[in-house]
Amino acid sequence: MLKNRIFKRIYTNKTSLVGFILVSFFLLVALFAPVLAPVQNPHNPYQMPQKSYAIAPQPPSAQNWLGTTEQQYDLYYGVVWGTRLAFEVGITVTFFAFLIGLIVGAVAAYFGGKVDEVLMRLTDVVFAVPSLVLAMVIAAMLGPDIKNMMIALTAVAWPSYARLIRGDILSVKRRDYVTAARTLGASGPRILLRHILPNSIYPSVVVASLDIGYVVLTAASLSFLGLGAQPGTADWGQLIAMARNWVLGTAQNPLAYWYTVAVPGAAIFLFVLGWNLLGDAFRDILDPRQA
């Protein structure tokens, strides 16, 4: 029944169909990355192959389908494996942020009182600092590395889930059907797992699906600033960082190196757009009242 609803909803709405196609496309690219772009360095598949050490990027050719960026890194390889990395970062960070937020929010709502007060003020503290700045500070403290970048992103992303889940649990907790379950003799854990969570978790799931795109965008920003992926890593933010000096071409041809920016930029743009469009559809799909 849920399956029917998903497809019905996606087919009947053009924007969500576009989102679905975009995300599916990226998913296929990520899954078949080793086929699309055979691994050059078996120790680290995310290491982009380097044709030579020449500085200037080279336009698309038979050998480098999407051209090369600074220092002759292959853009095609970088974008394909960057897709895989984007999914890895987006899903891992969102998953852990969601999990931490769920636990903190549920504990705050369930126990209430002082526990609630302390946990919610903690989230306020995290909220008080602009998230990108905070992520930069944490990433810089831990050292530039993709894993550290993911930790930094998780650390700034969880409070919004905690707040959302807490609020939803508090409102669901007071509904009649929760009281009804109690008068049937249901145990606390049963009420929490069967009635409260299923009715309060979905708004956060929708936010999470929207967040995957946003997390990838923030990760790209950190990489661009040199706080994430290391040079040579197939990472979209990294590719844009390498294109920094080539945004403007020569005086005669200002767009000479357009591909260095456009290729990874388009990947990020379409990926984030896809998730945003799909997130909207999720909201309708996950509500049984909107069949």
Partner: protein, 320 residues
């Protein structure tokens, strides 16, 4: 005739939330309620909004703890029961809620809703047997067995209330608490649900506490009626007697206020004034209130056999 629920001198006081320190001001909701639900009878609890009817139900169901007084269910004190004990009480005492739109989990199918009580209490574990039980249960409340796989939002208010009733009956309880089960429904649907409750009561030999603010509804279903005002029971009598000879001025005013076709509306009751700290709570609205009413809370005593009233104008033996 033994009582299956016995409430004695029950008090429930809420405290207003106070910022940071100490208890806020006290709001007494139930004051000295003594009530018993005889076996295999329907006791109607009538009163206006906010008089404490629903709080009484909550205390009975163990959702709220009484401030003072005792509640006995089948002779067992429900205060200080452990989880297992409370769970056992649940099997004997079930509830139908007022709002059929909020009392059913929107994410569960009818099958899941009806199976839940069985799962909790480990009844009918055999799959085939359970399926039969669920179908019979649904049929017994007047719904088709094919509805089992639908969601609550696919049903009308009356049908949802039937599902709620089926859910309450799944555990085969002896006592059913109905907290305004028809007040959220259309009048035409109310009659159907009342008939269903009446049939079920007869078929299952249920004892029922029926909470309502509607005398017409109470008259249809109840054997006895208790009238509540501001947290106190002010009058209690067998239904026929209460309708024939209402004693308490509040009961009389309520009965006058029931609209009837072809009769002009009764003069509405005065707005409730300031609380009377030591006297009859109804005194500010009472046409017959005297100074005496404001000095002491009138005792709740028998004015006739089976007929109790808390009004200074009636003392023992006043009514023949």
């Amino acid at each position: 005739m033994s009582a299956c629920v016995e409430i004695t001198h029950l008090y429930k006081t809420y405290y207003r939330h106070k910022w940071l320190f100490g208890k806020g001001s006290a709001v007494p909701v139930l004051k000295d309620v003594t009530l018993s639900l005889p076996q295999n009878r329907v006791l109607g609890l009538v009163g206006e909004s906010g008089c404490g009817k629903s709080t009484l139900c909550k205390v009975l169901l163990g959702i709220e703890k009484p401030t003072a007084g005792t509640v006995l269910v089948n002779g067992q004190d429900i205060a200080g029961l452990d989880r297992a004990g409370r769970k056992k009480i649940c099997r004997h005492m079930q509830v139908v809620y007022q709002d059929p739109y909020s009392s059913l989990d929107p994410r569960m199918t009818v099958r899941q809703l009806l199976s839940e009580p069985l799962d909790i209490h480990g009844l009918h574990p055999d799959k085939k047997q359970r399926e039969q039980f669920l179908q019979d249960l649904l049929t017994s409340v007047g719904l088709a067995p094919s509805y089992l796989d639908r969601y609550p939002h696919e049903f009308s208010g009356g049908q949802r209330q039937r599902i709620s009733i089926a859910r309450a009956l799944a555990l085969d309880p002896q006592i059913l608490i109905a907290d305004e089960p028809v007040s959220a429904l259309d009048v035409s649907v109310q009659a159907q649900i009342l008939n269903l409750l009446s049939d079920i009561k007869k078929a299952r030999k249920l004892s029922m506490l029926f909470v309502t603010h509607d005398f017409a509804v109470a008259r249809f279903l109840c054997d006895d009626i208790a009238v509540m005002y501001k947290g106190r029971i002010v009058e209690m009598a067998p239904a026929d007697e209460l309708f024939a000879k209402p004693l308490h001025p509040y009961t009389q005013a309520l009965l006058r206020a029931v609209p009837q076709v072809g009769r002009p509306l009764a003069k509405p009751l005065a707005e409730p004034g300031a609380d009377v700290p030591n006297g009859c709570a109804f005194a500010p609205r009472c046409e017959r209130a005297s100074e005496k009413c404001r000095q002491a809370v009138p005792p709740f005593q028998a004015a006739a056999p089976q007929h109790f009233c808390a009004c200074v104008q009636f003392t023992k033996g006043d009514v023949q």
